[in-house]
């Protein structure tokens, strides 16, 4: 049950995971919301607010080149202490993303962190420890407009 921590994550740290509406039923995230792509991308709350996190979604382009609509996304939190209790999680890595110069549609993310695990079926457990995070969506719009 030893989870390798590449970053100074305390058990009370929260990793913010965005979830598309396709993965939400009855206001709860389905296991599919925690599917890894290499690692499971999250934002470490030490370096971001929920509003900044959601705003980055709105500054990211879809495959058709349009910016994503933040109305289609909700945020959920995962406590590091809870993640560490899940057998099969290998590591939590702090992996901030910086592009210089900035790339349109791929915003820099100083809080980006990956959760690595092998058995994708374990995302069932992530869906149960995740809790909803309230977001001030007007603040999100403001951040996007100022970027």
């Amino acid at each position: 049950m030893d989870v390798k921590l590449n970053g100074e994550f305390s058990d009370n740290c929260v990793l913010i995971r965005n979830s598309h509406k396709q993965y939400i039923k009855n206001a709860k995230p389905l296991p599919a919301a925690f599917s890894p792509d290499g690692g499971m991308s999250t934002d470490w709350d030490k370096y971001t607010t929920p509003e900044e996190s959601l705003a980055r979604i709105g500054l990211t382009t879809k495959i058709n080149g349009e910016l994503k609509n933040t109305d289609f996304f909700n945020l959920f939190g995962l406590k590091v202490g809870d993640i560490k209790m899940i057998e099969g999680v290998n590591s939590i890595d702090f992996t901030p993303i910086f592009h210089n110069p900035k790339i349109y549609g791929k915003p820099n993310n100083p809080s980006h962190s990956d959760v690595h695990y092998v058995d994708v079926e374990l995302r069932l457990k992530f869906s149960e420890i995740a809790f909803p995070i309230n977001v001030d969506r007007s603040a999100v719009s403001l951040i996007i407009s100022q970027s």
Binding site: Q22, Y23, L30, A32, S35, I63, E121, L124, E128
Partner: protein
Amino acid sequence: MSMTQKLNSTIRSVEDCGLHPNYKNDFDLNNNFSDQTIYGTPIDIEGNEYQKKESVDKFADIYTKFDNHIHVGSIRGHLKGIVYRPHSYKIHDFWEDIFDRQNPLDLFNQTISKSKYILELEKGWDDAEAPRIEPSLFNTACKCISNYIEYIYKEKFFVIQSPEIAPVADGSLDFSWQLDNARMLINFRSFNEEVFAYFYGDLKDNKIPIKGNVPAKEVFEHLMKWMQYLK
């Protein structure tokens, strides 16, 4: 309405009936199911259409006999018959009359119907790069879960809860149960044109965990046994 009242009501509604010869199930017709001394009329399983057999005047006779049999569920097929009326007839399921039982797949079929939107999702449906869900994967996965539901019904005579069906960003398909006493995730994905089911499940407090993968085209007993917790 009591069982007896319901039974009597059913008997009155039957003008004449014949046993249903073609109901598909897996019981052995060579044993005492076709024994006239126990279950009445012999059954012609070779017939291609419903055929009227000897009439059964007292449906209660059948009820009494199957009620005494240990494998109550498997005889259900014998309780389908044809009700003849003037100028018409119809297939009648006496079992449902008596027990208000439904097809074990009724609930899951409703879930499938609600989930067919998945087949209409286009590439990028998650506002990222998710591929579309292949209809063959969807169909194979639904058929697989249907098989497990049916096997459990045949063995234990109850219907497990219906899962949530969700597309996954990698093009696979999730079937998940998150119940008070048990939870399970079965993820279906294709390798070399064959669909596999990757599963994880456990009971409350992580008890009796099960993990592994199996081909989706067969029913595996160990998985089927565990899924009985999803009642």
